[in-house]
C-alpha cells in the first residue's frame, strides 16, 4: 500500500510518540550526538523533516543506520522531544517495508571484534531487527 509522505509522517509520529511541535530548535540533540559527523541528516533536522513531512529523504538517509541509539539526545533535550525515537521510527518503517531484518543473529559472529563494546551489540539488535 502506497502512502503519501504526509501519512507516513503521521505514522512516524504515532509509533514514536513524539510531538515534533515541542521542538524549540536549540540543536542540543545534534550537539550531544556522537555520530553527528557520520550523519547526512542531523538529529535536529530529523525533527523538522518529520514536522514538514519530508519522509522520503529520511527513508533514504544513511543517518538512520548511523544513529547509535545511545539516547544522549533524548536524555538532554530540554523540551523532551526525543529525537532518537523519531530516528528509530523511521528505521522501523524501512525495516518493515523490506519485510525482514537488517541483521540476523547468524551474521553476528563474523562481524564481532574484540574491541566492540557490549552496548553496541545490544543496540545493533535494537536497530537492525523488527
Amino acid at each position: 500500500m502506497l502512502r503519501t509522505e504526509k501519512e507516513q509522517a503521521e505514522i512516524i509520529k504515532e509509533i514514536s510518540g513524539v510531538n515534533t511541535k515541542k521542538c524549540m530548535k536549540c540543536g542540543k540533540c545534534s550537539a550531544s550526538c556522537p555520530a553527528y559527523d557520520e550523519m547526512d541528516i542531523r538529529p535536529h533536522q530529523f525533527v523538522s523533516y518529520v514536522q514538514n513531512g519530508d519522509i522520503n529523504a529520511l527513508l533514504e538517509s544513511k543517518s538512520i543506520w548511523k544513529c547509535l541509539s545511545c539516547f544522549a539526545c533524548v536524555e538532554r533535550c530540554p523540551r523532551d522531544v526525543k529525537p532518537a525515537r523519531l530516528i528509530e521510527a523511521v528505521r522501523l518503517m524501512v525495516i518493515r517495508q523490506r519485510g525482514g531484518n537488517y541483521l540476523t543473529p547468524n551474521e553476528v559472529p563474523e562481524l564481532l571484534d574484540e574491541e566492540l563494546p557490549q552496548q553496541l551489540l545490544a543496540s545493533a539488535f535494537r536497530k537492525y531487527s523488527k
Binding site: 515541542k22 540543536g27 542540543k28 540533540c29 545534534s30 550537539a31 550531544s32 538532554r76 530540554p78
Partner: protein, 661 residues
C-alpha cells in the same frame, strides 16, 4: 416581590459570536420576577451603564443581573452603576457568560443553552439577595517590606518619601540583595555598587525607614489595613548599638573556613563577618555554626579585640511584633541548582561557573580582586565559552519552563566587558535565541558582536568535558549545520533563576497565591500586576516573575504607589458579605468558633425570645469587622444558624436548582 432587570452584554463579538444574545434575553424575560431584559454591545461602557441606570429608574427595579464577563472583571463596575441609580450595590449578580461560556464553547446552540442556564442561576440568586451595608475598618499607617534587595529598598524609599513609616525585613546580615553581588549593569555598564550603595545609605538614614537585617518574618495574622506580624531578629551576637564597624574582629577571627555566601562559595570568610565592605548595617554577625567559641566554648578572640565591647555571645533571638496596613513581598531570586546537569561538568570542574560567579570574579572586591582567572589554577583564560539557557525554557524536571529573561543581556555584557578588558581572550556564546526586548538592549547586543567581536553561535551545547587542563565543548552550529568541537579555558553557564526558596513559606503565611514555579501570582496579569489577589499584599521584583533591574525598580515604585494609596485612606470599606448568626437557631456549641480563622466569632449569654419562650442562651456573635466571609462556620454549624450574607444557603441552593432544572 423583587423586580429584576436582566442585561445581556455582547462584549463586541466576544460573547455574541458564540452566544445568541437575543435568545438569552428572551429566555431571561420569562423567568419569574424579571420585568425587564435587554442586550447591548458593551454593557460596561458608559452607554451600557446608562441603560442599566435608566432601566432601574423607569421600571423600579430592585435587583439586576448582568450577563457578561467574569464578576472578577466588572462586578464592581455594575455595583457602582446600580448604586448611582439608587439601589443597593449588593442587589447585583453577574452571570459569567464570557470566560465560562462563549470563550470555551464553539457550538452556538450549546453555548446559548448554557448562557441561558447561567442567566437563570443568577436570576434565581438575585431574587434572594438582600441589601447589604458595608462597614469600615481601620488602616494602620505603616508598611512592611519583606526583602532588602533593590526591589525592597526602592519600594521602602518610595513609601517613606510619601511620608509613611516602613520596615524592611532582610534575612541576611545586610541589605543590598543580588544587585550588590553584581559587578556592572547592562546596558549602560554602570558599576552596580556605585548606583546601589547610595540607595542603601539613603534607606538606612531615612527617618521613616526601620531596617531589620538578619531577621525573618515568623507569623502573620490580620488582614488588609491591619496585619499583625511577628519578626524574628536572629541573635547577631554583636550589640548593634555598641559596634563601630571597625572590622578588627573579622581580621582577627581564627575561623576563616566558612564558604562566603556573598562570593557564591568561591572563597571563604571568617566566622564573624559582614557579607561585604559596604554592608548596611556595617555590623558583623557571628555565624554560630562556624564560630570556635560556640562550637568548643574556647576562643573569644573577637570579644578580646573589640574595643567597643560589642560582642555578646549570650544574645538571644528577639521577636518584634508590629502592625502594618500593607505588606510588600520583595524576596527576589536565586540561581537554580545545577547538580543534575552532568553534561556541563559544573559539579566536577572548577572552571565551569555560573554567570553570578563570574560577576564575583569580575568584581574588584571579589575573590580574585577583579582579575579574570580560572578558579582551578588561577591562570588567565585565553578563551571562554558562554552557554545560554541552562535550565531555562526546559520542559523536563531538571529545569524551568520559563525564560529567565535577564541572561541574554548579562551574557552580552560579560562578553563585551571581557573583550574590552582582555582583547586577547576569544569569547564564544552559544545561544538558542537572543532575546533583547528593552530600551537600547538590541543595540547593546549588536555592539558586543560588531564592535567587540564576540562570536555568537546558534546551537545549544551538548556537552562540556574536561580534557587535560582544558575544557572540551561539543556543540553544533545550526546555521552552518556543522559540528563544533572546541577547546576552551572557561565555561560560563547562564543559569536559570528561580524565586527565593523561602517564598513558599512566606506566601503561605500571607495567604498570597503562588504559581507552579513558585512565583507569586499577581491579581491580574495585565491590569493589576503589582497586587497579589490577597488584599493588602503587594509584589515587588523577581518574586513575581523574572525581571532586570530597570523593570524591578519600576515595579518597586508601582508597588509603593499602591501601598501609599492604601495607607492614605483613613479607613477601608469592608466586605459586607460576612457571616451572620441567627440566635434563635444557635445552640452555642462552639463548632463555628473553632473553625473561624479570624477569631471573629465570640459567645454571649443573651436573653432571647424564641416564639414566646424567653430564656438566656449562649449564642454566637459575629464581629463583622473581623469576619472575612469565608463561610467555614456556616458548614460547621449543624443547625444552620450561621449563614453567609451574599452567599446564603438559600441563594446557593437556588443556583443549584436553576442549574439542575
Amino acid at each position: 416581590m423583587q423586580r429584576i432587570g436582566v442585561f445581556v452584554c455582547h462584549c463586541g463579538s466576544n460573547i455574541a459570536a458564540t452566544v445568541d444574545v437575543a435568545r438569552v434575553v428572551e429566555a431571561a424575560a420569562k423567568e419569574p420576577g424579571v420585568v425587564h431584559a435587554e442586550d447591548y454591545q458593551y454593557m460596561c461602557s458608559e452607554a451600557g451603564q446608562l441603560k442599566i441606570r435608566e432601566a432601574i429608574k423607569e421600571k423600579n427595579l430592585t435587583g439586576i443581573v448582568v450577563c457578561s464577563c467574569s464578576p472578577r472583571m466588572h462586578e464592581n463596575t455594575f455595583r457602582q452603576a446600580a448604586e448611582r441609580a439608587g439601589i443597593n450595590p449588593y442587589m447585583v449578580e453577574i452571570a459569567n457568560i464570557r470566560e465560562h461560556c462563549s470563550w470555551i464553547h464553539k457550538d452556538m446552540e450549546e453555548a446559548t443553552e448554557k448562557a441561558v442556564i447561567l442567566a437563570r442561576a443568577a436570576i434565581a440568586k438575585v431574587t434572594l439577595n438582600a441589601p447589604l451595608q458595608a462597614g469600615t475598618s481601620k488602616v494602620v499607617k505603616r508598611a512592611l517590606v519583606i526583602g532588602g534587595g533593590i526591589a525592597g529598598i526602592q519600594t521602602a524609599l518610595d513609601i517613606a518619601d510619601a511620608g509613611y513609616e516602613v520596615d524592611i525585613v532582610e534575612k541576611t546580615p545586610s541589605i543590598g540583595g543580588r544587585m550588590s553581588q553584581l559587578d556592572k549593569t547592562f546596558p549602560t555598564l554602570d558599576c552596580s555598587a556605585c548606583i546601589l550603595t547610595p540607595k542603601m545609605v539613603e534607606a538606612s538614614a531615612h527617618e521613616k525607614i526601620t531596617i531589620y537585617t538578619y531577621s525573618e518574618v515568623e507569623k502573620v495574622s490580620g488582614f488588609v489595613g491591619d496585619f499583625t506580624v511577628d519578626i524574628r531578629k536572629k541573635a547577631r551576637s554583636v550589640d548593634m548599638s555598641k559596634c563601630t564597624g571597625c572590622g578588627v574582629c573579622q581580621e582577627k577571627c581564627p575561623s576563616k573556613k566558612a564558604p562566603s555566601e556573598f562570593n557564591r562559595g568561591l572563597n571563604t570568610r571568617s566566622a564573624i563577618y559582614t557579607p561585604f565592605a559596604q554592608a548596611i548595617p556595617n555590623v558583623p554577625v557571628i555565624d554560630r555554626e562556624n564560630c570556635i567559641k560556640f562550637k568548643t566554648g574556647k576562643c573569644g578572640v573577637c570579644s578580646k579585640v573589640c574595643q567597643a565591647g560589642a560582642i555578646d555571645y549570650d544574645q538571644q533571638d528577639e521577636i518584634v511584633t508590629q502592625n502594618y496596613g500593607a505588606i510588600v513581598v520583595a524576596t527576589g531570586f536565586d540561581t537554580i541548582k545545577l547538580d543534575e546537569y552532568d553534561e556541563y561538568s559544573y559539579s566536577t570542574s572548577p572552571d565551569v561557573i555560573t554567570s553570578l560567579e563570574l560577576e564575583r570574579i569580575m568584581n574588584a572586591a571579589g575573590p580574585t580582586k577583579g582579575h579574570l582567572e580560572r578558579m582551578s589554577d588561577h591562570k588567565a583564560p585565553k578563551s571562554m565559552v558562554f552557554i545560554q539557557c541552562v535550565g531555562s525554557r526546559c520542559a523536563d524536571r531538571r529545569g524551568k519552563s520559563y525564560c529567565s529573561k535577564i541572561c541574554c543581556m548579562y551574557t552580552a555584557k560579560h562578553a563585551m566587558l571581557i573583550r574590552d578588558k582582555y582583547p586577547d581572550v576569544e569569547v564564544t556564546v552559544f545561544y538558542i535565541d537572543v532575546r533583547t526586548p528593552g530600551k537600547n538592549f538590541d543595540e547593546f547586543y549588536r555592539r558586543a558582536v560588531e564592535e567587540y567581536g564576540v562570536n555568537y553561535i546558534k546551537g545549544q551545547v551538548g556537552k562540556v568535558s574536561e580534557k587535560g587542563d582544558k575544557l572540551l565543548v561539543q556543540g553544533v552550529d545550526l546555521i552552518d549545520n556543522k559540528r563544533i568541537l572546541m577547546e576552551t579555558d572557561m565555561v560560563v553557564l547562564a543559569t536559570a533563576i528561580e524565586p527565593n526558596k523561602d517564598v513558599r513559606k512566606i506566601a503561605t503565611m500571607l495567604t498570597a497565591s503562588i504559581d507552579t514555579n513558585n512565583f507569586l501570582t499577581e491579581s491580574h496579569a495585565k491590569l493589576r500586576p503589582v497586587e497579589s489577589p490577597t488584599a493588602g499584599i503587594f509584589l515587588s521584583g523577581v518574586c513575581q516573575g523574572p525581571k532586570d533591574i530597570p523593570e524591578t525598580v519600576a515595579q518597586a515604585g508601582a508597588a509603593a504607589v499602591k501601598v501609599v494609596g492604601l495607607l492614605a485612606k483613613d479607613h477601608l470599606v469592608t466586605n459586607p458579605c460576612v457571616a451572620k448568626s441567627n440566635e434563635l437557631f444557635c445552640n452555642g456549641c462552639s463548632s463555628c468558633e473553632k473553625v473561624c480563622p479570624y477569631g471573629a466569632i465570640s459567645y454571649e449569654e443573651k436573653e432571647v425570645n424564641d416564639h414566646g419562650i424567653r430564656e438566656t442562651r449562649r449564642v454566637a456573635v459575629v464581629n463583622s469587622a473581623l469576619c472575612q466571609g469565608c463561610g467555614a462556620c456556616t458548614v460547621a454549624c449543624p443547625s444552620g444558624a450561621m449563614d453567609l450574607q451574599g452567599f446564603s444557603n438559600r441563594q446557593i441552593l437556588a443556583e443549584v436548582d436553576a442549574i439542575c432544572k
